[in-house]
């Protein structure tokens, strides 16, 4: 059992990555990654929501009438998302202002519903929970990677701290303002997909 469980967490990092392979949750990946801190908080929020909605749905999977299963899933997911939103507003107000509407939009994040439909409805609670963690973290590392690159080259800082020294700016270095625009995030996601496919030939379509 231990071996299978580990695979559930590991595979979304690479060959089943929600963003780069399944191409889900791209919208938020473009919108919240201009800075590292909101990207990190968003990544954690999505991981929490996917993991716990997977767990809850899996626990009650045998009681859910198939005819209303999507509605039941939506209720559980929105319950968790609103909870996360309220907690963020209470304890990390600054970040929650930056994330604004995107926390609420986790409800419509395809990763969440996708995992519920594809996995949690047919699997045991523990496995489902791990699957949720795995997919959440698979989403998370892409967001964090984008956040690091975009903040470093777009604003010259990381987590709000200046990284690129003033002397660089004095000799003519400039922040790349394209980095903080969403199109650049799309290009960066493209580059990650490119590298990933170059290394895993079996991901390429024939």
């Amino acid at each position: 059992m231990g071996k299978i469980n580990l695979k559930l967490i590991k595979s979304p990092f690479n060959k089943e990555n929600p963003i780069t392979v399944q191409v889900l949750g791209v919208c938020s990946a473009l919108a919240v990654t201009a800075k590292l801190e909101p990207a990190f908080v968003m990544a954690i929020s999505v991981t929490v929501v996917v993991a716990f909605s997977n767990l809850i749905i899996s626990l009650i999977r045998n009681t859910i009438p198939p005819r209303i299963r999507i509605i039941v899933q939506l209720v559980i997911v929105s319950l968790l998302v609103i909870l996360v939103d309220q907690v963020l507003k209470a304890f990390v107000y600054d970040v929650s202002k930056q994330l604004s509407v995107f926390v609420g939009l986790i409800i419509t994040n395809c990763i969440v519903m996708g995992r519920l439909e594809a996995f949690a409805l047919n699997n045991k609670p523990l496995d489902s929970f791990l699957d949720g963690i795995g997919n959440g973290l698979g989403y998370a590392w892409i967001l964090i990677a984008l956040g690091i690159v975009r903040e470093l080259f777009g604003s010259g800082s990381l987590w709000g701290y200046k990284i690129i020294p003033q002397s660089f700016y004095d000799i003519g270095y400039q922040n790349n303002s394209l980095m903080i625009m969403p199109p650049m995030a799309l290009i960066l996601v493209g580059i990650i997909i490119w590298i990933q496919r170059a290394r895993n030939k079996d991901l390429c379509e024939k």
């Binding site: 209303i68 209720v75 909870l83 209470a90 107000y93």
Partner: protein, 248 residues
């Protein structure tokens, strides 16, 4: 198979339980959220008089510099007075006034002296100098914009301004939040009165830097710039009776 009855009961229980959990969370977290909003407001007010603050020290700095909060009616009379930690006059602490609802009372009124609104004014003392901070609120291109204007003791010279917005376009309208834009209000002595007449400070294209009632608009952010201009004019106009009767 599941019967219709089962489905009805199942969904009812699910929704009721979810609602109960959410209600509990909302009540439990409200004090923290309210505190965040209060601290943000204090930081904005401090920002208007160029005092840097962090969420941690905002309250302390606010209490140190802002010695008095007043609420003014349209005739320029003081209807509430809050100072040294207690409410000396009126029913509501001026800090807690719902600005949006009060400003809405001014809408469509030609003659503001007929308005029933009661608006706040914050008095702060920095290095012996008295400054008045007035919160303002209006509309940009995509949503609300708001800010604070700080005025010197002569109730005429602008000594600080800060603006924030809900959803203006990044790089264009959203530039109103930058120091470069806000700095214009404190350079070259901007004043809100010309002699005895209220003229406000306008945000216009290709502003004359030496004109004490103009600052430069943001290129590509015309509607937001106009919004800032209108907001300043509409909100400050309400205070003219107060300014006139208290001017030295």
């Amino acid at each position: 198979m599941f019967s219709n009855k089962y489905i009805f009961i199942y969904s009812t229980i699910l929704v009721v339980v979810s609602a109960a959990i959410l209600a509990l969370a909302a009540v439990g977290l409200k004090p923290f959220q309210d505190k965040n909003i209060k601290v943000e407001k204090m930081q904005n007010l401090l920002g208007a008089v160029s005092i840097e603050s962090t969420p941690k020290n905002a309250e302390e700095l606010y209490n140190k510099y802002f010695t008095q909060e007043l609420a003014i009616n349209s005739k320029g009379e003081i209807v509430a007075d809050y100072s040294s930690g207690k409410l000396n006059k009126g029913k509501v602490r001026p800090f807690d006034i719902n600005l949006k609802a009060e400003i809405a009372k001014n809408k469509g009124l030609e003659d503001l002296t007929k308005s029933k609104a009661e608006l706040p004014i914050y008095v702060c003392v920095i290095e012996g100098k008295k400054k008045y901070v007035i919160p303002i609120m209006g509309n940009g291109l995509w949503g609300g914009i708001w800010g604070n204007i700080a005025i010197a003791e002569d109730l005429n010279t602008v000594v600080g301004a800060n603006f924030d917005h809900k959803s203006e376009t990044p790089g264009l309208g959203a530039e109103v939040t930058t120091k470069e834009f806000q700095k214009q209000f404190t350079e070259n002595k901007k004043t809100i009165f010309e002699g005895k007449d209220f003229v406000s400070v306008e945000v216009v294209k290709r502003a004359d830097k030496t004109n004490s009632h103009q600052v430069d608009a943001i290129s590509g952010g015309t509607i937001t710039s106009n919004g800032v201009s209108d907001m300043i004019k509409n909100c400050l106009k309400f205070y003219t009776p107060y300014f006139n009767s208290n001017k030295k």
